[in-house]
């Protein structure tokens, strides 16, 4: 596997410009001769589909939900970053770039991150033009708020529903292209396999979720915008159907998978409260603008929060990190919450929670102001917990949220399979070992609106390929392999449910193994234990899972089983990657590698690289490749938010 990053020549600030100039183009009249498949309709997939269709390509877009508007980008709450410097507080493209690469603990590619900061401003303009109702100041200008890991106010927002509004913007652009006929939209169709012809990505096999029918689609390029793999842990803030299947299928066909162990554990989520729990709910990081995080100073203090006097509270983030305070990056906030709970200072019935307190902000700004900023979040919190944050501090605990790892891509966002692109959370490209808040929306839209168009033209304009339709043998072979796989999934259910396990029971077991040993803090012993225990869970799944019904109907158990089967395989490279990276960086804390103050200690000499895993067959051991990270303009430093 060759890892050619294809980063353009020239000074950092000119690379994107140089690249667009040197990249091949496709004449507008010729674009209609090319067809492109886009899988996924979140911010990245919807914006890419709309943009490519506007440019003239024939686009076939797929999603698993009943409508493209349901994709999980919709749940992003807090906001989207851009280097507009509307607040005149010292922001610039250079600063957004630096904050992002530092926030990622110097484990991402300079050129990609710089380009992200460069296009960030156009995203805001685009969304405003679509009618996205961003929050405004009284004078009519766009409002901003602050987010973790930055000392400037650069986050644009629409109440606590920014992801929803941006997605509806991209969805409306997509709807317009569906109407023109340039996009053919396929809802409730799940990608089951990638089809290669002569080593290039030329199509996909899908399963119709309603009828179970398998279908094949061919194209000149395939774009995956299928999100992250946080649901490997069973409990996460991801939507229930979010999965690794499309990315994993691509991996098994030769796409390298980068940094699978980089998983963001978000500090402000509603704590777990029962074994029946199906998902975890995030409370936006924006709450840390006004909420103060604390625990009782005395371990085991069971008094109600209101009865604990100020001098017996430990506002540990403010005391430990005076310059960033409650707005330290997510990985730092999460680790500190875990540390407090490990020391016995956790609160709530499980002692696995810390307080997020708005009392001071309410007395300073008044209830009305606080409710205007966070009303819907407070409401959501109360619905779930039956407690009102206006009167009692929120209880929060970290939860699996976002995956920085993903399919390896070059500067063009192309994977190691020619013609297969990965955009949005699905790729690894911009966030290094930790993503800053309000940067996921920025990246998804940057990739979809402003980058992929150049990449697709560059690829199609420079690649000779035969005309291929889905009558080609590779398509019927791929379809047959999907059929066999479904039959294999259903095999253990033949004798009925007696003595068998449900899909969720096995998924919970996998989730617990990963959370315990490949979660917020990792060590060699635990990771080796997880690696040793994983095959037994895999075997249990294939021998003992019970799936009611057949493959030729709407069968939600079968859908979940198929996704779990891929998570079970994928977990191996997650653990291997965490084991191989013996340094700590960003979200990845190896207990063996900490500073005296329990901060993540990087090892730049040994690990300043992207770890890329290559599939080696059913019985093979995954092979590790490394893309060295070269820093031309920034000097990697030990991150400090003190």
């Amino acid at each position: 596997m060759e890892l050619k990053s294809n980063v353009p020549e020239g000074p950092l600030a000119e690379k994107w410009d140089n690249h667009r100039f040197s990249s091949k183009l496709v004449n507008p009249a010729n674009r209609r001769k090319y067809s492109i498949i886009v899988v996924g309709t979140g911010l990245a997939g919807a914006s890419a589909s709309a943009t490519l269709a506007e440019q003239g390509y024939e686009v076939e877009t797929f999603c698993i939900q009943d409508s493209p508007r349901r994709a999980h980008s919709i749940a992003a709450q807090g906001g989207i970053n851009a280097a507009k410097n509307y607040q005149n507080d010292g922001d610039s493209i250079q600063r957004l770039f630096y904050d992002t690469i530092k926030g990622g603990d110097f484990r991402s590619r300079e050129a990609n991150v710089y380009r992200l900061a460069q296009v960030s401003n156009s995203i805001i303009d685009q969304c405003v033009a679509q009618g996205v109702p961003f929050a405004r100041e009284y004078g009519g200008t766009l409002a901003n708020r602050s987010f973790g890991g930055a000392q400037v106010s650069r986050t644009f927002y629409a109440r606590g529903q920014t992801g929803q509004q941006l997605l509806l913007g991209a969805y409306s652009a997509l709807a317009r292209q569906i109407k023109t006929g340039k996009v053919t939209m396929h809802t409730r169709k799940e990608m089951m396999e990638l089809v290669l012809v002569d080593g290039k990505a030329r199509g996909i096999v899908t399963r119709d979720i309603i009828t179970g029918k398998l279908e094949t689609y061919s194209a000149d390029a395939v774009i995956l915008a299928t999100g992250g793999y946080g649901n490997a842990y069973f409990l996460s803030t991801n939507a229930m159907a979010s999965n690794v299947t499309a990315a994993w299928r691509a991996h098994k066909k030769g796409a390298g998978f980068a940094n699978p162990c980089f998983i963001q554990i978000h500090p402000t989520c509603i704590p777990v409260h029962g074994s029946f729990q199906s998902k975890l709910t995030l409370m936006s990081e924006s709450l840390r603008n006004d909420g103060r995080v604390w625990v009782p100073k005395k371990p085991g203090d069971t008094r109600r929060p209101g009865s604990i006097p100020e001098n017996e509270r430990d506002y540990y983030l403010e005391s430990k990190y005076p310059s960033f305070g409650n707005l330290v990056p997510r990985d730092v906030a999460s680790r500190n919450a875990k540390e407090q709970c490990d020391d016995g200072k956790g609160v709530g019935t499980t002692n696995l929670a810390v307080y997020l307190d708005f009392a001071e902000a309410i007395s300073r700004d008044g209830e009305a102001t606080i409710l205007k900023k966070y009303g819907n979040l407070f409401q959501m919190y109360e619905k779930i917990t039956d407690s009102n944050p206006l009167h009692e501090p929120m209880m929060i605990y970290p939860a699996v949220h976002y995956t920085m790892g993903g399919l390896w891509v070059d500067y063009n966002l192309m994977t190691t399979i020619p013609g297969l692109f990965a955009i949005g959370e699905c790729n690894f490209s911009d966030h290094g070992a930790n993503r800053l808040g309000a940067s996921a929306l920025m990246q998804g839209l940057a990739d979809g609106y402003f980058i992929i168009g150049t990449s697709i033209a560059g690829y199609l304009g420079s690649t000779e390929q035969d005309i291929v339709d889905n009558g080609h043998k590779q398509f019927s072979d791929a379809k047959k392999s999907v059929q066999d796989r479904i039959a294999k999934l259903l095999r253990s259910s033949e004798g009925g449910p007696a003595g068998k396990l449900t899909v969720d029971e096995i998924h919970k077991e996998l989730g617990l193994l990963l959370w315990d040993h490949c979660g917020m803090a990792r060590n060699k012993e635990g990771l080796e234990k997880a690696l040793a225990e994983l095959p037994a869970i895999q075997k249990k799944f294939w021998d003992n899972v019970y799936i009611p019904g057949t493959g030729e109907e709407l069968n939600q158990s079968l859908e979940r089983a198929g996704r779990l089967a891929d998570f079970l395989e994928f977990a191996e490279i997650m653990i291997l990657d965490a084991l191989d990276r013996a340094e700590s960086c960003g979200c990845h804390l190896r207990e063996e590698s900490q500073t005296e103050e329990h901060e993540a200690k990087r090892d730049d000499a040994g690990y300043s690289h992207v770890a890329v895993w290559e599939y080696q067959g059913e019985d093979g051991v995954p092979k590790l490749h490394k893309e060295q990270l070269l820093f031309e303009t920034v000097t990697p430093s030990q991150r400090s938010y003190k």
């Binding site: 939900q65 009943d66 109702p133 969805y171 939507a239 995030l282 449910p497």
Partner: protein, 252 residues
Amino acid sequence: MPTTNITLSLEIWRQKDSKAKGDFETYKLSNISTDMSFLEMLDVLNEQLTREGSDPVAFDHDCREGICGMCAAVINGIAHGPEPETTLCQLHMRHFDDGDTLVIEPFRSRAFPIHKDLVIDRSSLDRIIQAGGYTSVNTGGTPDGNSTPIPSATAELAMDAASCIGCGACVASCPNSAAMLFTGAKISQLSLLPQGQPERKERAMAMVTAMDKEGFGNCTNERECEAVCPQGISIRHIARMNREFVKASFFA
């Protein structure tokens, strides 16, 4: 409220596929924690049915945070259940009592065919948006975000309308099966904002026409939609849509 466990009797609409004739089936479910969400309660039922070798109840859901708009069912005659401004996934079992009977059925409308059990086809709503629920701008070349000031109050009003999650509860609760709250919210959002002005009239005409073509009914001010809307969207947006439509029919 302290956590307790309750026992429920569920009467659930079961329908094998779009062609089959459906009917209610009764299930007993005990040991339901009042901290569970409604969908987690259905998860427990489905685990139980699976272990018994029966077919689990098919239902749509995804984000389970009340924002994707995918979950949908009518509980005891009310779309999304008894709590105001709450989607099914955010409805918690603490709002029910021990021994309650819950009748659970899909959102019903001619424009929402049933696929299976509680799973319905809402693509008719997508087609209304495709008719004109956008501004016709291509990617790139748009003016600076601050070039057109928008009063904060206007942006907030547009946001009230834009918050629609497209779940279809408005349709399910309307005696006329009207999608006017859904359509009105989008027309309203874009007619309030300067970016929506160039296509204001064409949009109102096209979206209302698409809505009629899908087989949705018309508003007779029953206000059932507003009462069940998880985002609390006001029927004032229907009034604005009607004004937009009338103006458009005279002057377009």
